[in-house]
């Protein structure tokens, strides 16, 4: 990469600051089943009374990115208008056999696997069109996955503001501390998107970081 291109990329945050938009396009990223759509639904329900999409225990339930425009979040006198993109879960492998365990027919499982691969590509493409990222991780899982490392590396390389959401803290074996230790350079907000635990802290951080 030429030095000029590198300089342009590294100072992208400055360009963004000078050309500050009145609304930010925020992507919700993470591995499958981290709770991305549950979080998107929580945000939309709290601020628009609507929902983004269906959720399921079967991985790769979201296989197309969904965009919801003009979500206004207001906390402590600060407000931010977001265009929220709920992206399909990122993965390095997709095996249709994994879906058979959920009672699907082989044909249905293969179709879901194919759509899931397309969803991963779409999620990666969206990275070029965002102003910030909410990275959702399952706090009960090991955070050192390749998907997490790759997404965070790409967000850092693009100079996008990032907020890590340590989700599922309502579960007994959740450990947001493990996520904080794995990615100490980024703010981590522990929440339960399902139960709404600590969600006000997340909204405050969103208004602070993306506003």
């Amino acid at each position: 990469m030429s030095v000029i291109v590198r300089i342009k990329k590294k100072f992208s945050f400055l360009f963004r600051w000078f050309s500050k938009k009145d609304r930010m396009k925020i992507g919700i990223y993470g591995p499958p089943n981290a709770g991305k759509t549950t979080l998107a639904n929580r945000i939309l329900r709290d601020w628009t009374g609507d929902v983004m999409g269906s959720v399921s225990d079967v991985p790769h339930e979201t296989r197309r990115a969904r965009l919801r425009e003009g979500v206004k979040i207001e906390v402590d006198g600060k407000s931010v208008i977001l265009d929220i993109v709920d992206t399909p879960g990122l993965a390095t492998k997709i095996d249709f056999h994994d879906f058979l365990k959920y009672g699907m027919s082989e044909e249905e499982a293969k179709r879901r696997a194919k759509e899931a691969t397309e969803g991963v590509i779409e999620a990666i493409k969206w990275l070029d069109d965002l102003d910030g990222v909410l990275m959702v991780m399952d706090a009960t899982e090991d955070p050192y996955t390749q998907v997490n490392v790759t997404i965070i590396g790409n967000i850092e390389a693009r100079g996008l503001p990032l907020l890590i959401v340590a989700n599922k803290i309502d579960l007994p074996n959740a450990s947001p501390a493990r996520i904080k230790a794995a990615f100490p350079q980024h703010p981590v907000v522990p929440i339960s998107a399902l139960k709404g635990l600590n969600i006000d802290t997340l909204y405050r951080e969103i208004a602070e970081r993306f506003g």
């Binding site: 390095t92 194919k114 490392v149 390389a157």
Partner: protein, 117 residues
């Protein structure tokens, strides 16, 4: 002798290759069942491109994807960020049905390579 072939690619060789050349080489070798070890790894952008191409090549029969093992990027100083190269760290890539992560931390990775596919 039965076993799994490991291709260990030096930093010098990787530095001479373009991004697509590296990614193509990795995917071709992994699809043949080999494990590829990169001394200096890939940039985050190259990793994302590798995932994209992997998704395109999954055929749901013989190739279901890849397993990648690498460490998080070390944060570099201001000038390191501006003028530094890829800065990638040791990376191991293999077929998802052959390479499995057992344990991973910031400084240590334990993985299992199976002979049966």
């Amino acid at each position: 002798m039965e076993g799994v072939q490991l291709n260990l690619i030096s930093k010098d060789r990787l530095d001479k290759m373009g991004s697509m050349e590296k990614i193509r080489m990795i995917l071709d070798e992994v699809k043949r069942g080999k494990i590829v070890v990169l001394e200096s790894g890939l940039t985050p952008e190259e990793e994302a491109k590798l995932i994209e191409l992997t998704m395109l090549e999954i055929d749901h029969e013989n190739f279901v994807g890849i397993e990648v093992e690498s460490y998080p990027q070390k944060s570099k100083g201001f000038f390191g960020k501006l003028f530094g190269g890829s800065g990638g760290r040791l990376t191991v890539i293999g077929p998802a049905n052959r390479l499995k992560t057992l344990q991973k931390s910031d400084e240590f990775i334990e993985a299992l390579v199976s002979i049966d596919r």
